[in-house]
C-alpha cells in the first residue's frame, strides 16, 4: 500500500547538484539501506522523502499520494506526509519526559486519553522502555535515547520510516544490539524502512536491498548478495567489500562461458548475460588462492593479522595490488603464486 516511487528526482544546492536523476522504487515493507561515501547525497535523499527539502526536479509518490512534484510545485509539508524520521542526534525533546516524547505524536492526532495511554505503553513495551517512562531524555544512555526516538516514530504508525545514520553515535557493541532492535522491529511491523549508513557491514546485515550511491546518483540497487558478487561497475566493485578492479584482455566467448586474459593469466570469468562485452574484473580475496604453482607471481607487501587468518597485500610482477587471505603466515617480501578463480566481469568505459 505504501510503495515509494521516485522519478528522475534531482536536487541542486546553489548551483551544485547533490542528487541527479534518481529514478527508483522502494517496495512496501522493504528494508532499504542507502550506502555511499560521505557527501554522496544520502541525507539529502532522505530529507527530500521526508519533505524537509523539496526536489528541484522530478516527482515523488508514496502509495497513491503525490508527495512532491517539481514541475507543478506541489510539495506536501512534512507534517502531512505521515512518515517517521529517526535522527542521528535522536532529536528528543529535552523538556518532555520519555512518556510524553512518545505520546506526543498521538496527542497531535487528537486521540482519546485512554487510546494515547494504550498505544504509548505498547510502543514503550516493544522497545523495552517501560521502566524509563518517567525519566527525562537527559537521564538516558545513548542506546536508550535511540530507542525512545524509535518508539516515538513508531507510535504514530507511519507509512514509512526513514533513519539517518541512527547508530553512528553509538559504540560498536551497542550498535550490534541496536541493529537487532531495528530488524526485529521491521519484522514485526512490516513498515517500509529506508536506512542511511556508511557502514557496509551494517547495511549488508540488515537490508533487503541496498542502494549504493555516489556523486548524487544511485550506482546499483540490489540485494546485498548480488551487490557483493555481481557489481555493476568499478565504483561498486571497489566500494563494496574492498575489491580490486583490473582490466581484462582477449575475451573469448565459448557458448555460455567466457574466457579472458587477466594480468597475463588465462581465466574463466562470470558476467551478466546481458553484458555484450566486458572490460574489467573485480578481484576479491575469495577469488584468489595461494599456491606454489600459481601462475600469477607476486610479492607480499604488507601482512595484517585479522584474527585466525592473515590479509596479505601483494604486488604482482606487472604492478597490480591484490588482496589475498590465508591461514598460514607469510613474511613481507616473500614470493608466492596466485591462482584466480571465476572473478566477476563487467564493462566499464
Amino acid at each position: 500500500m505504501a510503495d515509494i516511487d521516485l522519478s528522475s528526482v534531482g536536487k541542486t544546492f546553489a548551483g551544485t547538484p547533490a542528487l541527479q536523476d534518481i529514478t527508483t522504487r522502494f517496495d512496501d515493507g522493504e528494508f532499504i539501506a542507502l550506502l555511499g561515501p560521505s557527501g554522496c547525497g544520502k541525507t539529502t535523499l532522505l530529507r527530500i522523502l521526508a519533505g524537509f527539502e523539496t526536489p528541484t526536479s522530478g516527482q515523488i509518490r508514496i502509495g497513491a499520494r503525490e508527495m512532491a512534484n517539481a514541475q507543478t510545485g506541489v510539495s506536501l509539508p512534512p507534517e502531512e506526509r505521515n512518515i517517521g524520521f529517526v535522527f542521528q542526534s535522536y532529536a528528543l525533546w529535552p523538556h518532555m519526559s520519555v512518556w510524553r516524547n512518545v505520546s506526543y505524536p498521538l496527542e497531535i492526532r487528537r486521540f482519546s486519553k485512554s487510546e494515547i495511554a494504550r498505544q504509548t505503553d505498547a510502543a514503550l513495551a516493544s522497545t523495552g522502555l517501560e521502566a524509563y517512562a518517567d525519566r527525562m531524555p537527559s537521564d538516558l544512555s545513548g542506546g536508550q535515547r535511540q530507542r525512545v526516538a524509535l518508539a516515538r516514530c513508531l507510535v504514530s504508525d507511519p507509512c514509512a520510516v526513514l533513519l539517518d545514520e541512527p547508530l553512528a553515535n553509538l559504540d560498536v557493541a551497542l550498535r550490534a544490539t541496536m541493529q537487532g532492535v531495528f530488524t526485529d522491529f521491521h519484522k514485526r511491523t512490516g513498515a517500509t524502512m529506508v536506512y542511511v549508513t556508511h557502514d557496509q557491514a551494517e547495511a549488508m546485515a540488515m537490508a533487503d536491498r541496498i542502494a549504493v550511491m555516489d556523486q548524487g546518483r544511485i550506482q546499483q540497487f540490489d540485494t546485498p548478495q548480488t551487490l557483493y558478487e555481481r557489481p555493476k561497475n568499478r565504483f561498486v566493485a571497489e566500494f563494496v567489500g574492498r575489491g580490486t578492479v583490473v582490466p581484462v584482455q582477449e575475451v573469448t566467448q565459448a557458448g555460455g562461458a567466457r574466457q579472458a586474459r587477466i594480468l597475463g593469466a588465462e581465466v574463466a570469468v562470470q558476467s551478466a548475460r546481458a553484458e555484450k562485452q566486458v572490460s574489467h574484473v573485480c578481484l576479491r580475496p575469495e577469488n584468489l588462492t595461494i599456491s606454489e604453482s600459481g601462475d600469477l607471481r607476486s610479492k607480499v607487501a604488507r601482512v595484517t593479522y585479522m584474527g585466525g587468518k592473515y590479509l596479505l597485500e601483494t604486488v604482482t610482477d606487472c604492478g597490480a595490488r591484490l588482496f589475498a587471505e590465508t591461514r598460514a603466515r607469510f613474511d613481507v617480501g616473500a614470493q608466492l603464486g596466485l591462482t584466480i578463480t571465476t572473478p566477476w566481469a563487467f564493462s566499464e568505459d
Binding site: T54, S75, E79, I83, F85, F87, A91, W93, R152, S156
Partner: protein
C-alpha cells in the same frame, strides 16, 4: 512566496507567518526612523533642504554639536582607560573572585544615568550631606565641581566603561592560550608578547567597543541634563529637550533636524563598529582552547586591592552619598543620630501621588513591553533562523538601529509618526501609548538578540522531529520551540524590564501629566530641589536593579552562551 517555500521545503504557513510578523516588526522598529528622515528633507510635503540649512546655521546648534562631540569624545576616552585596564587584568591574569568583579563592573551600565549623576552630586560640592557629616565639605558658595564639562565627561566615562570592558574582555578571552605560548617559544618575552601578539589581536574588539561607547555617550541624556543644564552647557540631546519642553510641538520640524544630526553622527559610529567587528571575526576562527591566565605573582594582592578600591570609589561611595542625602530632614543638614529620618522615603514612596503613579506607569510599561516583545521576538527569531529570506536578513542587519540610535532621535521620530494617526484626527502624543510603542521599538534588539543567540544553538532536528510526527507550525511553536527557548526569553524579558523600568531619555520627551515614568520623576524632583526625595527614590530603584541583575546571574548557568550580556 511560492519560490521561498520551494527553496526551503518547509510548510507554506511558515513563510506566511514570517512575513506577517516581519511586517509588524518593521513597522515598529524601522518605520519611525524612516519617518524622521523624510521629515528632515521635506518642507510641507515637498523635498527641501532649506530647513536643514537654517537649523544647522544657528549658533546654538553648532555649540551644542561641539559640546556633544567634546563630552562624548573625552568621556569615551575615560571609559577606554578604565574599561581597558579592567578588561586586560580580568581577562588575562590570575586574579581571584573574577565573577564578583565582573558583576560589580556591570552595575554602572545598568544604573540609569540620571541616578549616576544624582549620586555623584551628593558626594561633591558644598552642600553634600556626606561631606558635611565627615566635616570635609568645601565652604558654602563654592561651585559644584560636577556642573561643568569636566563633570559630564567624568561621569559619562564611568557610566559607559562597562561597554569597553565587556567587548574587550570578550575579544581577549577568544585569544587562545597557544597563540601566546607559540610566541614565547619563539623567544618573545614579557611586554613583547603583549605588544606584538595580544594587542594586534584585540585591536578590532577594542575599536568596536570604543565606537559603540562613543555612540552611547553621544545619546546620553541623563548626565548632561542633570549636570549641564545648571551650568548652561547644552549638548544636542539636552538642546532638543529644552526646545521641545519650552515651545512644544511647534518646533517639531526644527528638532527633527537636530535629531537627524545626532543620528548621522551616531550612524557613522555604528558603521565603524560594524566594520571593526567584521574584521575581528577573522581572528576568532578556530579558537577553542583555554583562555589566558598570566600569573601576576607577588603583584596580585596589590592589584586586587587597587581594583576593588576603584570599584568601591565608583560604585559604593556615590551610593553612600545618596543614602546620606535621603536620610536627612532637609537638604544641607548634617547627618547625625538625632537628625536621621525616613521622612523622605515615606513621603516619596507612599505619600506623593506622582511617584505611585510613576511606579505604576513604569512597571506597566516595562512589564507590557517585555511581554509583547517576547510574543513577537520568539516566533520571529525562530522563523528568521529557519528561512533566511532576503528581507529577513536585511531586517536582521537593521534591527539594532532603534536601540543604538540615541533615545532623543527615536523619541522625535515617534512623535512625528504618531502625532496625527493617518486617516483620523486622533493622536497618540501625550498618551501612555506613544511611550509604550517607543519602548517596543527601542528595546526590540534587547529582547531579540538573546533569543536569537539561544535559537542559533538549537538543533533544527528538534523541530523537524515534531514536524515528522505531524505537528503543525502552531503546535511546534507552542510545544517545542517556546519551552526550549524560554530561559533565553526570560533573560531577555528581565533585561527589557530592567532597562525600560529605568528609562529616562525617551520618556523625558514623550511624557505628559499623568504619564510620568520613574526616570522623569527623579529628574523633576531633583530639578525642583527635592533632592532628598529624589535620592530616596533613586536608592529604591538601584535596589530593584541589583535584585533583578542578581536574579539573572542566579539562573545564568541555565542560559545558553551569549544570552546574558555580561557573560560573554
Amino acid at each position: 512566496m511560492m519560490s521561498v517555500a520551494q527553496q526551503n521545503g518547509g510548510s507554506r504557513s511558515e513563510a506566511r507567518l514570517l512575513s506577517a510578523i516581519l511586517i509588524v516588526a518593521i513597522c515598529l522598529t524601522l518605520a519611525p526612523v524612516l519617518r524622521l528622515f523624510v521629515e528632515g528633507v521635506t518642507d510641507q510635503g515637498r523635498p527641501s533642504l532649506t530647513l536643514m540649512r537654517d537649523v544647522l546655521a544657528q549658533p546654538s546648534t553648532l555649540s551644542a554639536l561641539k559640546h556633544s562631540l567634546v563630552t562624548a569624545g573625552f568621556g569615551t576616552l575615560v571609559s577606554l582607560v578604565l574599561g581597558a585596564a579592567f578588561a586586560f587584568l580580568v581577562a588575562l591574569t590570575d586574579l581571584r573572585a573574577k565573577a564578583a568583579l565582573v558583576f560589580c563592573l556591570m552595575i554602572p551600565m545598568m544604573i540609569p544615568p540620571q541616578i549616576t549623576a544624582l549620586s555623584w552630586t551628593q558626594i561633591m560640592g558644598p552642600s553634600s550631606v556626606l561631606l558635611k557629616t565627615l566635616g570635609i565639605a568645601p565652604p558654602l558658595g563654592a561651585p559644584q565641581p560636577l556642573y561643568s564639562p569636566q563633570g559630564i565627561i567624568f561621569l559619562l566615562g564611568i557610566q559607559h566603561m562597562s561597554i569597553i570592558f565587556l567587548t574587550l574582555r570578550a575579544g581577549l578571552r577568544s585569544i587562545p592560550q597557544d597563540v601566546v605560548e607559540a610566541a614565547r617559544i619563539s623567544g618573545a618575552k614579557g611586554l613583547r608578547t603583549w605588544w606584538q601578539v595580544v594587542m594586534p589581536l584585540t585591536l578590532p574588539s577594542l575599536a568596536a567597543g570604543t565606537a559603540i561607547t562613543f555612540v552611547t555617550a553621544l545619546g546620553n541624556f541623563g548626565i548632561p541634563a542633570m549636570l549641564g543644564i545648571p551650568a548652561d552647557y547644552a549638548t544636542l540631546p539636552t538642546l532638543v529637550y529644552q526646545k521641545l519642553a519650552g515651545m512644544g510641538t511647534t518646533v517639531l520640524a526644527e528638532v527633527s533636524v537636530l535629531a537627524m544630526l545626532i543620528g548621522a553622527v551616531a550612524v557613522a559610529g555604528i558603521l565603524l563598529q560594524r566594520l571593526c567587528q567584521s574584521r575581528q571575526r577573522l581572528h576568532l576562527v578556530g579558537s577553542t582552547s583555554r583562555p589566558l591566565a598570566l600569573p601576576l605573582g607577588a603583584a596580585r594582592l596589590p592589584v586586587e586591592i587597587l581594583l576593588w578600591a576603584v570599584v568601591f570609589a565608583i560604585l559604593v561611595l556615590p551610593m553612600f552619598g545618596l543614602l546620606a542625602t535621603s536620610l536627612v530632614p532637609a537638604y544641607g543638614v548634617t547627618l547625625r543620630f538625632d537628625t536621621v529620618t525616613l521622612a523622605s522615603w515615606y513621603e516619596v514612596l507612599f505619600r506623593q501621588p506622582v511617584t505611585s503613579r510613576a511606579f505604576a506607569n513604569s512597571f506597566g510599561l516595562a512589564a507590557g513591553a517585555s511581554a509583547v516583545l517576547v510574543m513577537i521576538c520568539l516566533p520571529l527569531a525562530w522563523l528568521m533562523e529557519r528561512r533566511k529570506t532576503r528581507l529577513a536578513r536585511l531586517f536582521d542587519s537593521l534591527l539594532d538601529l532603534p536601540y543604538a540610535l540615541p533615545g532623543v532621535v527615536l523619541s522625535i521620530a515617534m512623535i512625528l509618526l504618531l502625532i496625527k494617526l493617518p486617516f483620523t484626527e486622533a493622536t497618540l502624543y501625550g498618551t501612555i501609548w506613544i511611550i509604550f510603542l517607543a519602548y517596543l521599538a527601542r528595546f526590540f534588539a534587547v529582547m531579540f538578540r538573546p533569543v536569537q543567540a539561544s535559537l542559533k544553538q538549537f538543533d533544527p532536528a528538534m523541530d523537524e522531529a515534531a514536524q515528522s510526527v505531524g505537528a503543525s507550525l502552531y503546535r511546534r511553536l507552542r510545544d517545542v520551540i517556546f519551552p526550549l527557548s524560554a530561559p533565553a526569553a526570560a533573560a531577555g524579558a528581565i533585561l527589557v524590564f530592567l532597562t525600560a523600568f529605568n528609562e529616562l531619555t525617551v520618556s523625558a520627551l514623550l511624557w505628559s501629566s499623568g504619564t510620568e515614568t520613574l526616570g522623569v520623576v527623579i529628574f523633576n524632583l531633583d530639578d525642583s530641589g527635592e533632592t532628598g526625595m529624589a535620592s530616596a527614590l533613586a536608592m529604591t530603584i538601584v535596589f530593584v536593579v541589583i535584585v533583578l541583575m542578581a536574579l539573572i546571574q542566579l539562573f545564568s548557568r541555565r542560559f545558553p552562551k551569549g544570552v546574558v550580556p555580561w557573560q560573554t
